[in-house]
């Protein structure tokens, strides 16, 4: 046995010994742990007590009113609001304006919007909300719009009652030097809709943070939509300047710190932050050494040009927390970069601002350049679209701002009838996708979560004036061809004539149910009343004298399924701007473009019936009653206003019977055209702008008029 072998043997044996020992130790340890767990609890694995016990779960005490806490509490909707007034409808009462009362033009606009809104009532007994006709917009006592003797004016309001259920709109409060948020009178339990409001001042869930807007803000409409909000506001995504600002610099006092530090990050290249000291009377006296240089740079750039050419726009606080600049950036599609610590953003209860802007921190000013540079193209696209959408949906007019305020309050009162946050924050917004209709996004035509399944069908609604049903009538023929469609589920006939409804046997025999309805009124409005007999999403609206075959209907339906948010149909009309008369003109001539599809032959989403009946201004309904026509134009305005898109035209224009048929007299035609022109004028006035969009395109089946054999075509009836 040589040494080498010996040693390896020793090693081997010792290894075996050790491993047995280790195994023994392991098992011993685990056994020890097991036994100890059973007998005594080791400190490491000790079973700890529950944090609560059955007493905490079952405490029962009837008189808990949070008295000591509530005593110090500022208002909540439960303590300072009488919701019983709102249970019979969400109506708004506006106090009549007292003689000699000073009303600023802006406040005048605001009251006008309220009076014209759907919520308005002139009966204070029916009202849920009360609006004082006292101008409280400007509470800066150095301002010329400041109204004196406010307390006596407010307290003399007959229904004031400590301010319960009142809304007070305010844009400015406080003045030099400390700009407090005091309104200089006790607003009590009234809800404040206040601009530039701070997180500390606002009573959460009670007051409403309001945007700050200019005196020139349009009362309604969206200005000139074709230019202002075209996609040139979105693209190009990277603009000339990454971050821009042009504005005053305060040399001292509240709100001056940030603006005095902008020069640190200004680089004159892609980050352009320009300030001027030239404002106020005595700026020369207080100017510092940078003023002259700053002023010189400042004059080199134009404010509007900067806004249009910047990807991000710095929106720092002014003397007050909010600024006009904020809405101006939104409108320009320039992503706001906020530097306004503690500002409660407008309608922040519903609007998810994190999707549309960057919340900077005044303390971290120097981080801004690296933060704005960290955003990718995809993020910039998303945010730009969101800024433009929010501007359009909630801020673009005094009307939208007021309606948004009311909707925020209504949502608090009826949380189960309030729009979901994604609806508020997705195009076209909660003022359009109304929660009264449904809270389920799938019930609206706007979202891509409801691609129709292929089994989806439509309901044909035929508007008749006839008194008889015979084989030869156009109604009879129309019902027959609709009945041949593969997707129709039901035919609803609106029987407007006073004559008794024809006997059952006379109606054409088709495989689907025919429902005859006598509408409430004979006006065109009754055609769009939501009816429970219509249980499909798609509606095909028809006049009895239109000639369509089943292939045309089926093809149009297949196109509608691609564009469920638009009117898709056959008879097209147009509009144009007459610079001579400087007004929009109605056009029924065939041309290279169109902007309306008449509802005498069109598919549309069921939701638009609800919108037409419950959302459209009542003046529109009255107009339709007055002229006995124009409901189709009104529908086109409504849909275009919501979608900002033109309708879809199907197949070439046919000589539709309409009212243009040979047996219609010329004078009648002239009168009809005259009415339609008047309707268009009225609608432009009511909407505040021209929402119709033009299109040059029409949709045909892929093999339409193609030289291939007819047998290969899906829609053969179209070829003859």
């Amino acid at each position: 046995m040589n040494a080498k072998k010996r040693y390896s043997l020793i090693f081997l044996i010792s290894l075996v010994c050790c491993s047995t020992f280790v195994v023994y130790r392991r098992s011993f340890r685990s056994w020890r742990r097991l036994s100890s767990a059973v007998t005594s609890q080791p400190p490491k694995e000790r079973k700890r007590p529950f944090f609560a016990d059955i007493k905490d779960e079952f405490i029962l005490q009837d008189r808990i009113e949070f008295q000591s806490e509530r005593a110090t509490v500022r208002c909540t909707m439960e303590t300072c609001f009488d919701r019983t007034k709102c249970l019979n409808g969400f109506m708004v009462y506006v106090y009549p304006i007292q003689n000699g009362e000073k009303i600023s033009p802006l406040f005048g606009k605001l009251l006008k919007v309220l009076r014209e809104s759907r919520f308005y009532t002139d009966d204070p007994q029916k009202a849920c909300l009360f609006i004082p006709s006292v101008d409280i917009l400007d509470r800066d006592n150095l301002s010329e719009d400041y109204v004196h003797d406010m307390p006596s004016k407010i307290w003399s309001l007959p229904h004031w009652n400590g301010g319960i259920n009142h809304i007070i709109f305010n844009l400015f409060s406080g003045t030099w030097p400390d700009y407090t948020e005091d309104l200089l009178f006790n607003s009590g339990k009234a809800i404040l809709a206040k601009a530039s409001v701070s997180m500390e001042f606002i009573r959460p869930g009670f007051d409403v943070s309001f945007p700050l807007f200019l005196k020139t803000h349009p009362q309604k409409g969206t200005g000139s939509p074709e230019i202002a909000a075209s996609n040139s506001a979105v693209f190009p995504l990277h603009r000339k300047y990454k971050l821009a600002f042009k504005g005053k610099r305060y040399l001292s006092g509240i709100g001056s710190e940030s603006r005095n530090s902008f020069y640190h990050i200004h680089n004159g290249d892609d980050i352009v932050l320009l300030t001027t000291c030239k404002h106020g009377k005595n700026w020369q006296l207080r100017k510092d050494q940078r003023c002259d240089k700053d002023n010189e740079e400042y004059d080199k750039y134009d404010y509007d040009e900067l806004l249009k050419n910047a990807t991000f726009c710095l929106t720092p606080r002014g003397r007050r927390l909010g600024s006009y600049r904020f809405l101006e950036s939104l409108q320009a599609g320039c992503i706001p970069v906020l530097l306004s610590n503690g500002w409660e953003l407008p309608f922040s209860e519903m609007i998810d601002w994190s999707k549309a802007l960057i919340q900077g921190d005044e303390k971290l000013l120097t981080e801004l350049p690296s933060i704005v540079r960290s955003y990718s193209k995809e993020q910039i696209l998303a945010m730009k679209q969101q800024t433009l959408f929010l501007w359009e949906a909630y801020f673009s007019s005094v009307e939208k701002i007021i309606l948004t305020t009311l909707e925020v309050i209504r949502s608090r009162l009826f949380p189960n009838k309030a729009a979901l946050l994604p609806v508020w924050n997705s195009f076209p917004g909660a003022l359009v996708a109304l929660p009264h209709y449904s809270r389920d996004p799938k019930d609206f035509p706007f979202y891509h979560i409801n691609f129709e399944t292929s089994s989806e069908k439509f309901t044909a609604v035929i508007h008749t004036t006839t008194t008889v049903v015979r084989d030869s009538t156009s109604l009879f023929r129309l019902i027959k061809s609709v009945g041949q469609s593969s997707f129709v589920s039901k035919v609803v006939v609106l029987w407007t004539s006073d004559a008794p409804i024809s006997h059952n046997k006379r109606w054409p025999q088709i495989s689907i149910p025919i429902v005859i309805v006598r509408p409430e009124t004979k006006t065109g409005n009754s055609r769009f009343v939501p009816r429970s007999v219509i249980n499909t999403t798609a509606i095909l609206s028809l006049d009895e004298d239109i000639k369509l075959n089943s292939d045309e209907i089926d093809f149009a339906f297949s196109v509608w399924r691609t564009f469920p948010d638009r009117l898709v149909g056959f008879p097209a009309r147009g509009h144009f701007w007459s610079s001579g008369k400087s007004q929009w003109m109605f056009s029924s001539t065939w041309s290279n473009q169109f902007s309306m599809i008449l509802t005498s032959g069109a598919f549309y989403h069921k939701y638009y019936n609800f919108m037409y009946t419950h959302h459209l201004a009542r003046r529109v309904h009255r107009m339709v009653e007055h002229y006995g026509a124009c409901e189709d134009i009104a529908m086109n305005f409504l849909v275009a206003d919501i979608t900002k898109k033109p309708p879809i035209k199907i197949l070439p224009q046919k000589l539709f019977q309409d009212l243009y048929s040979r047996n219609t007299k010329h004078s009648q035609l002239v009168q009809l055209h005259d009415h339609r022109q008047k309707c268009m004028d009225t609608l432009v006035e009511i909407f505040g702008y021209m929402p119709l969009m033009k299109s040059q395109v029409r949709m045909d089946p892929l093999l339409y008029r193609d030289p291939v054999s007819n047998l290969r075509k899906q829609y053969r009836l179209l070829e003859v």
């Binding site: 020793i10 044996i13 010792s14 050790c18 280790v22 490491k44 079973k47 700890r48 529950f50 944090f51 609560a52 059955i54 905490d56 779960e57 029962l60 949070f66 110090t72 500022r74 919701r83 997180m199 500390e200 959460p204 074709e226 979105v234 995504l237 960057i358 919340q359 981080e367 933060i371 193209k377 679209q385 959408f389 949380p415 189960n416 979901l420 994604p422 997705s426 195009f427 996004p441 706007f446 891509h448 409801n450 691609f451 297949s558 691609t562 290279n592 979608t643 898109k645 070439p652 224009q653 299109s695 040059q696 395109v697 029409r698 045909d700 089946p701 892929l702 339409y704 193609d706 829609y715």
Partner: protein
């Protein structure tokens, strides 16, 4: 000699055994002490700390606190990972001068909460680096606590400076008799409170965090497997509500079908798992799974653990608790998970529930389950969600968005979508005519390329032609020597040389392209008239978020199998337009180059084929919208080019079908949408004089 060997052998044996044994023991001791030292403040022994009376007590909770005013952001140094760092004090026993212990023993829930934080990415063992400091005092439940003692402990913490800024305290059950305040009755000044029962007046919005009341007593005692049913429309199980509420509920129960109102069992009133109706006994919380809606009503406190039980059992909570701040209300959309009723309108519960549609119930249940699984099912999740919210407040521009926090929506197709709209949603409108840029990909067919650019240059809206010269070995015909060959055109022509002959070069977002619209066109498309191109462009302006092109193709599903076939037959359907001649938005070039799965781009470059199919997949997947085929034209290439093109080759279709199936695999589904229509000019084919038509030369083949 022999003896010696034996001795050596034995000694060696014993010695080596000893060495190895000692080594192992040492190793095990060291490793276990390493574990102890793995900087968990929980595992340190309870040191006794004598609390000084000198330190001033903290002030009352400052109700005006907001992040910008009461939080020291500079302590959260700008961090690469955008993560806050959290320090946890060690587990001590605090005693006062009289030797009385001031803090309670840790509860299991608090232990779990702190362990989760210590094991998380937020944890730091260095107090000086901490952005947020958590005192290790178990005040989850206020009852039985010596409140002044707790305040004294806080004042004595070495980190407690400047009013307790950047400190975080957890409390689920605040208040005590007689008032039962809605927040912890310990003065904590500027510290952040994660509280379980906040009311609108006690919650410092954007500063405090509202957390749930964890259902510690019931979570372990449910009987698996869960069997959901809708036996009851509505169940009320709480035994701790005002008697006035209970009476109203019992009235509802009498008048409406499907309502069940339970109370304590008379024989065993303090059993947490027993609820009774008459003589029937039900197991709580198991019974909750048999109802669609479950009542969560305020007791002495606004927050109730029943909310957690309901979510756990898949029952939609009906919350009756005015002013209550729901858990994680800053980020969670409770409207999609729960129904809220005002306390004065309990009688309206049946009416409200009746109006909720079946599809909404589905959505609410989905959202509730999502909440439970992601944020509530353990103390650790509650702790980490709280920290995530604070993290998002500190690093706001990387914060999670609504879609990250809340459940996705179900589409009618059954797929899930995080947002209601595709990423490109704004109605892009026919803006002022900016024109379009034609991008021609060219390898060496100079002659036909010249013909193509000559032909298209007559299109009115064309502003520029960019020739992408993809031939690395050959210089493009240069101006110097072959100047005569370049046709003289009314529109500027730019030549871009690529570094590699790749097909994906066609969709690179070249700086030379300064319009939004790009016409991608092959170097042999000669049949299109300027009228057709102009109309195609105008159609694109109406549908700028789609591909708008001339050659249409469709995919078919073979015998409803999962394999797809590429069709170029003239069919009644279209799901793709070929980018041999199609308009697209420049943004899609950006997406194609930088955002599309690189796997697909590599496939395209490797096979030198299918870049157009890839583009169609990408656009439709991104927007959810089908492409649009314009005009009836079906033939595009010059008659003499057809023969040499790869189109004549039958293997071409096999290869294209392969691309289809490859891309379907890459996307995990078939994104293409099929439509039956094409776009024609409004007056196309009308029997009218040509001169009134805007587009006269529209070919029919």
């Amino acid at each position: 000699m022999r003896m010696q060997t034996k001795t050596v052998f034995l000694v060696g044996l014993v010695f080596s055994c000893a060495v190895i044994f000692v080594g192992l023991e040492l190793w095990s001791i060291l490793s276990s002490s390493n574990e102890e030292l793995s900087n968990s403040p929980l595992d340190s022994d309870l040191a006794e700390i004598r609390v000084q009376f000198k330190a001033p007590l903290p002030k009352k909770r400052d109700l005006n606190c907001r992040m910008h005013s009461c939080f020291d952001i500079f302590r959260c140094t700008v961090n690469e990972n955008q993560l806050i760092s959290v320090y946890v004090h060690s587990n001590n026993r605090f005693v006062d001068d009289g030797g009385q212990v001031l803090n309670k023993e840790l509860s299991q829930e608090f232990y779990d909460l702190i362990s989760a934080i210590v094991e998380s990415q937020y944890y730091t063992a260095d107090m000086r680096k901490a952005c947020i400091v958590i005192p290790l005092i178990d005040i989850l439940n206020q009852s039985g606590q010596y409140l002044k003692g707790i305040a004294r402990i806080l004042a004595n913490l070495p980190s407690w400076k400047d009013g307790g800024r950047n400190h975080l305290l957890f409390n689920m059950l605040p208040g005590g008799p007689p008032d039962y305040n809605s927040s912890l009755d310990v003065p904590i000044d500027k510290a952040i409170l994660a509280g379980g029962s906040f009311a609108t007046w006690s919650y410092r919005s954007g500063f405090d965090v509202s957390i749930p009341v964890y259902n510690a007593l019931t979570i372990k005692n449910i009987h698996h497997p869960l069997k959901r049913s809708s036996e009851w429309l509505f169940i009320s199980t709480q035994a701790n509500m005002k008697s006035a509420f209970m009476m109203q509920l019992e009235d509802i129960e009498k008048e409406h079908f499907g309502f069940l109102v339970l109370n304590r069992c008379p024989d065993d009133p303090h059993h947490i798992h027993k609820r009774c109706k008459g003589k029937t006994t039900y197991h709580y919380p198991d019974i909750l799974q048999h109802a669609t809606f479950c009542l969560v009503i305020r007791g002495v406190r606004l927050g109730q653990s029943t909310l957690m039980d309901a979510l756990m059992m898949g029952c939609i909570p009906v919350i009756v608790s005015d002013d209550y701040i729901l858990p994680f209300t800053d980020v969670l959309d409770w409207k999609r998970a729960a129904v809220r009723i005002v306390e004065s309108e309990i009688h309206r519960i049946p009416a409200v529930l009746k109006e909720i549609s079946a599809s909404e119930i589905m959505d609410m249940r989905t959202q509730g389950r999502w909440f439970w699984n992601k944020y509530f099912s353990s103390m650790g999740k509650i702790a980490l969600t709280t920290l995530r919210i604070l993290n998002d407040r500190v690093y706001r521009h990387t914060a999670w968005k609504y879609e990250d926090w809340n459940a996705p929506f179900l589409t009618t197709k059954g797929t899930e979508t995080a947002s209601l709209l595709p990423p490109l949603f704004f109605p892009l409108r026919p803006y002022q005519n900016q024109g379009f840029t034609a991008v021609v990909l060219c390898y060496d067919r100079v002659d036909t390329m010249f013909k193509v650019i000559t032909k298209i240059s007559d299109t009115p809206s064309l502003t520029k032609i960019v020739v992408v010269w993809n031939n690395v070995n050959k210089a493009p015909p240069s101006g110097k020597y072959t100047a005569a060959k370049w046709p003289k055109l009314s529109k500027p022509v730019k030549v871009v040389r690529t570094k590699e002959n790749k097909l994906s070069n066609r969709f690179f977002p070249y700086n030379e392209v300064d319009t939004e619209a790009i016409l991608a066109i092959d170097d042999d498309i000669l049949m299109l008239t300027p009228d057709e191109l102009e109309f195609g462009f105008q159609a694109w302006r109406e549908f700028p978020d789609r591909l708008v092109g001339f050659p249409g193709r469709v995919h078919t599903n073979q015998n409803s199998s999962s394999r797809f076939k590429y069709e170029s037959e003239w069919t009644n359907n279209v799901s793709m337009v070929l980018t041999g001649c199609a308009f697209h938005h420049k943004y899609f070039s950006h997406l194609f180059t930088y955002m599309m799965p690189s796997y697909i781009r590599d496939w395209v470059d490797k096979h030198m084929n299918c870049e157009d199919i890839a583009m169609n997949f990408m656009v439709t997947n991104y927007t959810g919208k089908a492409p649009i085929k314009v005009t009836p034209r079906k033939r595009f290439r010059c008659p003499e080019c057809v023969t040499e093109s790869l189109w004549a080759d039958p293997s071409h279709f096999v290869e294209r079908s392969e691309c289809l199936n490859e891309f379907v695999r890459a996307y995990g589904h078939m994104p293409l949408e099929t439509v039956e229509f094409r776009a024609d000019p409004l007056l196309f084919g009308e029997k009218m004089a040509d001169r009134v038509k805007l587009y006269r030369h529209i070919g029919s083949i």
